[in-house]
């Protein structure tokens, strides 16, 4: 099945994925039950609604085609500089700073997301150090 994979197969898979990714709009189906059972006020229910929207924001490196966090970009820039392959250092530095800015904005989401983020940064750090070693 994989052998016949085309961009249309990927599109079909994407459609299936999207058909299961919109649960935030199901909130209306469960909010009434939560309100009655747990005795929440409307403001608390809306607070839960905002929490789901806040966490819905995808992390930057998940969205990126290269799939790298700000820290990984910084270390990659340093490794590129060490190997002399960097072309536009100014733009790259600005991009790295933008990555960190975005990471900082996403920090107050939830503790678990921060923990996941920290683990990703450590992994990225190790990976980038290995890359620098290889370049040397």
């Amino acid at each position: 099945m994989i052998a016949g994979l085309t961009r249309w197969g990927a599109l079909s898979a994407s459609a299936f994925l999207e058909a299961n990714a919109g649960l935030q709009y199901v909130f209306g189906d469960v909010s009434g039950s939560l309100r009655t059972r747990l005795g929440y006020t409307q403001r608390q229910i809306d607070g839960l609604g905002t929490a789901k929207a806040r966490a819905h924001r995808p992390r930057r490196w998940e969205a990126s085609r290269a799939g790298s966090p700000g820290l990984l970009r910084l270390l990659r820039l340093l490794s590129q500089r060490a190997s002399g392959s960097v072309q536009d250092c100014g733009t790259a530095v600005v991009d790295v700073l933008a990555g960190f800015l975005f990471d900082a904005m996403g920090a107050p989401t939830t503790l678990s997301f921060v923990a996941v983020r920290a683990c990703a940064c450590v992994r990225a750090c190790v990976r980038a150090c290995c890359a620098v070693e290889r370049l040397r």
Partner: protein
């Protein structure tokens, strides 16, 4: 051997971990909500906020991989890709509402399904979700045939989505408005829904039947060997980056291929798009977050019908916005894609006025109209972002734009709507809860949102004026590559666009 290659390419790679990790959060979040709901876990409000964020947020992270991968695979029809995938995304609520009815609206069972089904779907889709790029046809005639088949397959997929949406609207409405007659048929309706959903798997066959090219074996070999990287794949090397540069130059006009997030933040056109996004989300999230309270304040019994109508309307609006904006782009008239947000905001404003002033009888129509415009904007704005700023940094730009969701939800759904609701609420002796009944509960909120939507339409006009030169350039490039464009595929005219000619 093939199985091993598949495992290496699709499961052990970072992509699998990146897609399944949010699903683990999704499952744990909903299971924790279930534990609190059933009394097995006693906790305050703050942990519930965390569980909600984990449950719904983990699920929402599934949106982006499919969208970004498909936009990269089909850059020549990006408006239709956005419209199709986002319409299916919005249909999710009505599909799960049918599921809710199938378990007789039993909250614990429904929460278990919310925890497990998306995770299962993500695991099933991971092996297929790969960026394959826009492959080049050999001769001009083959490219023409491929372009025509591509557009027609998208029309077929859109028709399937519309059919599924209408089916969902009718069945859920019958089940909620005449439950004694139609609830016994829920299993049958549910089975039919699954069968309709399964038809998306036939898209490759539809494409082949319409004369499209079969997959080139070497493409698959390269994919399995992991040479192409991917959304979650390995970091591309310098050679691949150079290839991407060349492709970007072909697919985008002006400086669109190289704009980074930070450059975006210094541009007036980006902030126009961002503010329209905030306004649109303010309306959509306020309505969807408060749908249960809006419906009960107007005397409605079952809220499931309103959730389904809201979902179906957003789905249809998304498709409408996508096709209308694609047609406008190929019509070679002054109405370019950003102008299409003005009528969409008009629908949103009209819907808000209907919600504010109408009673229960008008509520279905009000929700439908509001969410139709909301959905249209949600398919037009990402397409404008993508063609203006390109594929390279689209992920970071899109992710930053999602902060609009937090802003809109905090300011309007929580701060404005909930405060006004509670100002009108009175203690219900039967339940012991502060409940609001009557038109005043949400009137001011939705009148404010109607005014904001009108402002959004005006910003859309300003954006179109700012981007006049850019769209003239883009329209010229599209016209050169494909005379007739969108309409050629509809009428069978000659000269559909080649993906490598843009």
């Amino acid at each position: 051997m093939r199985v091993r290659a598949c495992v290496r390419a699709c499961v052990l790679r970072r992509g699998a971990a990146s897609l399944t990790r949010p699903q683990a959060l999704n499952a744990s979040g909903f299971l924790a909500i279930l534990a609190v709901y059933s009394g097995r876990l006693r906790c305050g409000y703050a942990p519930m906020v965390l569980f909600t964020a984990l449950g719904f947020g983990g699920n929402g992270a599934m949106l982006l991989p499919g969208l970004v991968t498909s936009l990269g695979n089909f850059p020549e029809v990006r408006g239709m890709v956005t419209g199709l995938l986002k319409s299916v995304f919005f249909l999710c609520a009505s599909l799960y509402t049918e599921l809710d009815l199938a378990v007789e609206q039993d909250a614990p069972h429904f929460l278990i399904l919310l925890a497990l089904l998306p995770a299962a779907a993500a695991l099933a889709c991971i092996p297929f979700l790969k960026p394959l790029g826009c492959r080049r046809a050999g001769s001009a005639a083959a490219a023409a045939q491929e372009g025509l088949a591509t557009r027609r397959t998208f029309f077929a997929a859109s028709a399937l989505t519309i059919g599924l949406a209408l089916y969902m609207a009718i069945t859920v409405l019958l089940q909620t408005e005449a439950p004694s007659t139609f609830l016994p048929f829920v299993p049958l309706a549910f089975t039919l829904m699954l069968l309709l959903l399964a038809l998306y798997a036939a898209l490759p066959a539809v494409y082949a039947a319409l004369g499209g090219r079969a997959a080139a074996p070497q493409d698959t070999q390269a994919l399995l060997a992991g040479e192409r990287g991917g959304v979650y794949g390995s970091v591309p090397g310098a050679e691949q980056r150079a290839t991407e540069d060349a492709e970007d130059e072909e697919h985008y006009v002006g400086d669109a291929a190289n704009i980074t997030l930070l450059q975006c933040l210094g541009r007036a056109d980006y902030w126009c798009i961002y503010s329209m996004y905030v306004i649109n989300l303010a309306v959509g999230l306020t309505l969807s977050n408060n749908l249960e309270a809006v419906a009960t304040s107007k005397g409605a019994g079952l809220v499931a019908g309103y959730v389904a109508i809201s979902s179906v309307a957003t789905c249809l609006g998304t498709l409408l916005g996508a096709h209308a904006s694609e047609a406008a782009l190929d019509a070679h008239i002054a109405l370019q894609r950003p102008w299409c947000v003005a009528p969409a905001f008009g629908l949103v404003a009209l819907g808000c006025v209907m919600v504010a002033g109408g009673g229960r009888g008008l509520l279905y129509a009000a929700v439908f109209v509001t969410m139709l415009g909301y959905g249209a904007n949600l398919s037009i704005l990402p397409a404008v972002l993508h063609e203006r700023y390109g594929q390279r940094h689209f992920g970071s730009i899109w992710a930053f734009s999602q902060t609009a969701m937090v802003l809109a939800s905090s300011l309007f759904a929580t701060a404005l709507a909930a405060r006004i609701y509670e100002a009108h609420a009175q203690l219900d002796p039967a339940t012991g809860l502060q409940t609001c009944v009557g038109g005043g509960c949400f009137r001011t909120t939705f009148l404010v949102l109607a005014l904001l939507a009108a402002l959004g339409g005006a910003i859309g006009g300003a954006l179109a004026t700012l981007l006049t030169a850019f769209y003239a350039q883009l329209a010229a490039a599209r016209s050169k590559a494909e005379p007739g464009g969108y309409f050629a595929a509809l009428t069978g005219g000659k000269g559909p666009r080649r993906c490598d000619d843009l």
